[in-house]
Symmetry: C4
């Protein structure tokens, strides 16, 4: 089985998800500053989701680059990840339009959590299918960021109902954790 | 004629269909649990259609991998399949928004049936264009799943007007039939 | 300059245009046969436009396959073609929703005409950039179908204001002219 | 790191942005000339934005063609560019629907400016990562057009509040500056 089409299909789905999100930025009726104000939270969630999808594309790129072989299980684990990523435009729009109300903010974290778990499942499926001395296996053992992200989402979701800004702060923290240049990214396999 | 662009174009259409379906999950006005409840059936049909499109992408991937040569007939049989797949977002939205009412549920099965027939036509066109001792030809003769799926859709469509849950149950059964790991997928050509 | 990215970009634009057209098939409110009836003309225009975009993808595929070299003029002639193709979802939705009223029917022909002219311009730009004894040059000289299509659109557009069914009939005739298996397609370069 | 997936992902995002813009051309209710008139400014902005996105795709194509190596910084600089390009459909729709009112016209220029700066950042990141005698480095030093475009946007944005047609005129001038055949494009690396 070739990994070329798997990469191409994943690229296409992530590219579409990242681009159709802009359709949730509804063109306002009116042309003064007042119509711009309610768009600000929608725009900010758009930026956050764009960064998250960019991180996923980036990590996916690296992980598959290190994979030598693909099987049916990996194909489905990948589709499972794409499923949760495809829901990001929906929760982005919902959280933005409701100006970070508790429930949509928790749901946003829920989709991020399920995408993170799907990523870990995919990683496990790929590692299991490579040889025992694969570079990927070594890289994954140290995947602290991946596991920490999932833990932070679990913490953030209930906190959204206490104070949604704590949850938002945790989401932004996870995004920054991945964005900050990481020398290992350049020198090692994996994320 | 190269099969590379055929694969790339099919990947793009399936990726777009699978991703724009989420646009039918309309961002609700409001941010409490009450606005979530009517979304549940829409979400469940989204999951079902995501799985069906995933299965088609997966099978398409395997079938074309086994094809050596492409001709004009195959190009059009492929476009015919993509046509029915492109209608899945529409019937998904219709069935979900009407909470599995009989007519949309039957129509959903109708589109699945026509996609299944289009797949069988494409398979036949590809086999006819390969050599007589092609691996694909042997695999297709045993394509019990493909034919059984079509039969189950034919049964499900009228039953949707008796009790729509029987139809839904049959659609879910077909999806599971394809999802359950099948050792042959890994070892043989075809679906 | 590589033609790989030109093909990939064109495939993506045509795939998106062909798939987002389904968004004009608005999910109806209600679940009985009555809500289906007004969708019939929208569905029929969808089929027609799907076939036209399929023909363009097919022909584009063949033409670029025969091209050896690409330059800046070809890139822009290609973008010009993609521009008119990207408008097909719009005129499709307009004609369908207004049940083939004269003005949208004429506009639909106008976009088809401008796409056909853009295709001829692209063809000329590609031929001009190949060697004088290129296979493409010979194939293009005989491109009767391409020129006849443009002539038929020119005839159909004013006739849409007399009787729109004559215009629709001519559009369908052009589509069938391209769809009918053409032995030359398999044996020669070009469309 | 391979630049193949970077190109494919960028192509997909630009292709989607250029194609979903047509969704802002809302299918009008009615079928006479009167419903067409308010669409004219929307259509004209669509043409302008299509040309801008076409120019970006074109330049991106050339720049990456000349790049030998990719790193994490380049991946993120590229995503940053794609972010601003993904906002073009939004500002296009807003400017078009409000018939070139001052604020949306200035915002349109703002997004163009930020995209131009993102392009210059990406260019710098790529040049920094190539060898000191790279062809790209030489080409970039002469990138007068890229810098002049940014300056013209800076001038146009405040002028949109004086008279929006001056701003529009400047945007059109920038587009034409890139569109006009440039012999260097064919003979040299870069834009």
């Amino acid at each position: 089985m070739s990994k070329g089409r798997l990469e191409a299909f994943s690229d296409a789905v992530i590219a579409i998800a990242i681009t159709i999100m802009v359709l949730e930025l509804k063109v306002p009726h009116g042309a003064d500053w007042e119509v711009v104000r309610p768009l600000v939270p929608v725009f900010l969630t758009y930026v956050l989701s764009f960064v998250f999808l960019g991180i996923y594309w980036n990590n996916h790129h690296h992980m598959l680059h290190a994979a030598d072989r693909i099987n049916g299980k990996i194909l489905w684990a990948n589709l499972h990840l794409l499923f949760w990523l495809s829901l990001i435009p929906f929760v982005t729009g919902w959280m933005g339009e409701n100006h970070f109300a508790p429930l949509p903010t928790a749901m946003y974290g829920g989709v991020l959590l399920l995408a993170a778990l799907a990523y870990l499942i995919l990683q496990t499926a790929i590692v299991a299918h490579q040889g025992t001395d694969s570079k990927l296996r070594a890289a994954v053992r140290k995947d602290v960021k991946g596991k920490l992200s999932a833990v932070l989402y679990v913490v953030a979701i209930p906190l959204a109902f206490v104070n949604q800004w704590i949850a938002i702060g945790l989401y932004v923290f996870v995004a920054l954790m991945w964005l900050i240049p990481d020398r290992r990214i350049e020198s090692k396999v994996g994320r």
